[in-house]
Symmetry: C2
Subunit: 193 residues, 2 copies
DNA sequence: GGCATTTCTTGCCATTTGGCAAGCGGGTCC
DNA sequence: GGACCCGCTTGCCAAATGGCAAGAAATGCC
C-alpha cells in the first residue's frame, strides 16, 4: 500500500522536504484496524503514533459514574495517539477505538524518539503536531465555556460534518458536553429555525 | 538574585543533572512585573518562556460578546507562556497579566530553540513541560463536561487554594465556566452543607 | 425473515445555571 | 465628610439542560 498520504502530510508544514519525507515515512509500518477494534485500551501505555490514512476513530474515557465521555474524534490525515500516555510512558486513562475500519501508518515511541534525535526537521514537525493539538484543545475549552450547546453543535457541523456520519449521536453529545437527549432536541430546533 | 528555584525546577524531572541545570539556567534573564502589568498582550507574539519565581499570574481572552474569560492561573514554580503564539510565532489571542507583583526567569523563543538544538536533555525537558500542560488541559476539559460547577469549585479549592487569595471571584468564576453570581451562590451552599 | 439490540426522538418535570438589579461593605480620592 | 468604585451577595424570575421512561426507527444477528 502506498504511503503517499503520509509523505504529503510530512511535507505539509514546509519543515520537511520530499526526500526527507520519503526516508522518514519508511520508518512507519502499515496497520489495519477492524471496525470497533481498539488502537488503545485504558491501563495500557500508548505505543502507536498513528497517522490515519483512511477511516474514523474516537477517543473516550469513563467518568466516575461510569458514563463514557468522548474526548476526541480523528479522521484521515490526522495523527492519533494519547499524548500523555505516549510521551510519559504511563498507563492511559483513555480508549481509542475505530468507528469504521481503518488503515494507517504507525511508529513506536522508541523509533519515534530515535527519529527525533537523528532528524531536527522531523523534531520540529513533531512539535508542531503537539502544538496544534494543544491549540485545538484550548479553543474547544473556550467554546465550552463561552458558547451555548446549540452553537457548539453548529460549529462542529460546519467544521467536521463527517463526524455525524460515523458516530452515534450520544458519543457526539458527550464530546459536546451535553446529553444525547439535549442534542436530539437541539437538532430538532436547528432544523425548524 | 539567585536562580536556585529555576535550577531545582530544571532538575525536577530527572532529565537534567545539577551541572547542566546551572548552565541552562544561566541563559535565562531575570524579569520583574508590577502588579497588573502584562507579560503578554493579545495581538503580540509571545516571546517570553517565563519561569515564575514568585507572584501570581492569570491568562485570559475576550469572547465574542466582550466578556473576559480566564484561561489559566499560574503560581510560582510554573512556566508561563502562550504555547500556540510562542511556538508558531503568530499573534496571541490571549493576555497574560500579573495578579500580584512577580519575578521570574525568562528566555526568548530564539534562545530557547538554540538551547533545544544544543542540549538533548533540555529538549526532553521542554517536551515534558508541554506534555504536562496538555494533560492538565485535558483533565480540566473532562471535569468541565462531567462535573457540576460546585464539584469543580471544590476541586479547585483543594488543588490550588492560593488562587482564591489572589484573584477576584469573577475571574475564578470564568475559569470554572460559570458566572460570578453562580459562584457566589455555590460558595454559600458549600459553607452551609 | 424475524427477533433482539441499539439509536434516536419525545413528553413530562426537576435541577442547574444565568440575567438583571438592588444592596452592602470596604477602599480611595478630593 | 462625601462621592465614587469595586467586589461580593442576594432575590426574583427566565432559560438551558438533565433524568427518566416510552415508543418509533434503524441496525445487526441467526
Amino acid at each position: 500500500m502506498s504511503n503517499e498520504k503520509l509523505t504529503r502530510f510530512l511535507q505539509s508544514t514546509g519543515l520537511i522536504n520530499a526526500g526527507q519525507a520519503e526516508e522518514i515515512a519508511s520508518d512507519f509500518i502499515h496497520k489495519k484496524f477492524d471496525k470497533n477494534s481498539f488502537l488503545l485500551q485504558a491501563g495500557r501505555i500508548s505505543d502507536d503514533y498513528l497517522f490515519l490514512d483512511s477511516g474514523f476513530m474516537r477517543a473516550f474515557a469513563y467518568d466516575t459514574d461510569g458514563h463514557d465521555v468522548t474526548t476526541g474524534f480523528y479522521g484521515s490525515g490526522q495523527v492519533v495517539f494519547e499524548v500523555a500516555s505516549f510521551f510519559t510512558r504511563t498507563p492511559s486513562q483513555e480508549y481509542i477505538q475505530a468507528l469504521t475500519s481503518c488503515q494507517g501508518w504507525s511508529i513506536t515511541h522508541q523509533r519515534l524518539n530515535a527519529l527525533f534525535h537523528a532528524r531536527p526537521e522531523f523534531r520540529e514537525f513533531g512539535r508542531s503536531v503537539l502544538v496544534r493539538g494543544y491549540a485545538a484543545l484550548k479553543s474547544r475549552m473556550l467554546a465550552l465555556i463561552t458558547e451555548s450547546a446549540a452553537a457548539r453543535y453548529e460549529s462542529l457541523l460546519r467544521a467536521s460534518p463527517e463526524i455525524l456520519q460515523h458516530a452515534p449521536l450520544k458519543t457526539v453529545a458527550s464530546y459536546l458536553g451535553i446529553t444525547d437527549t439535549s442534542l436530539s432536541r437541539i437538532r430538532k430546533g436547528a432544523a425548524l429555525r
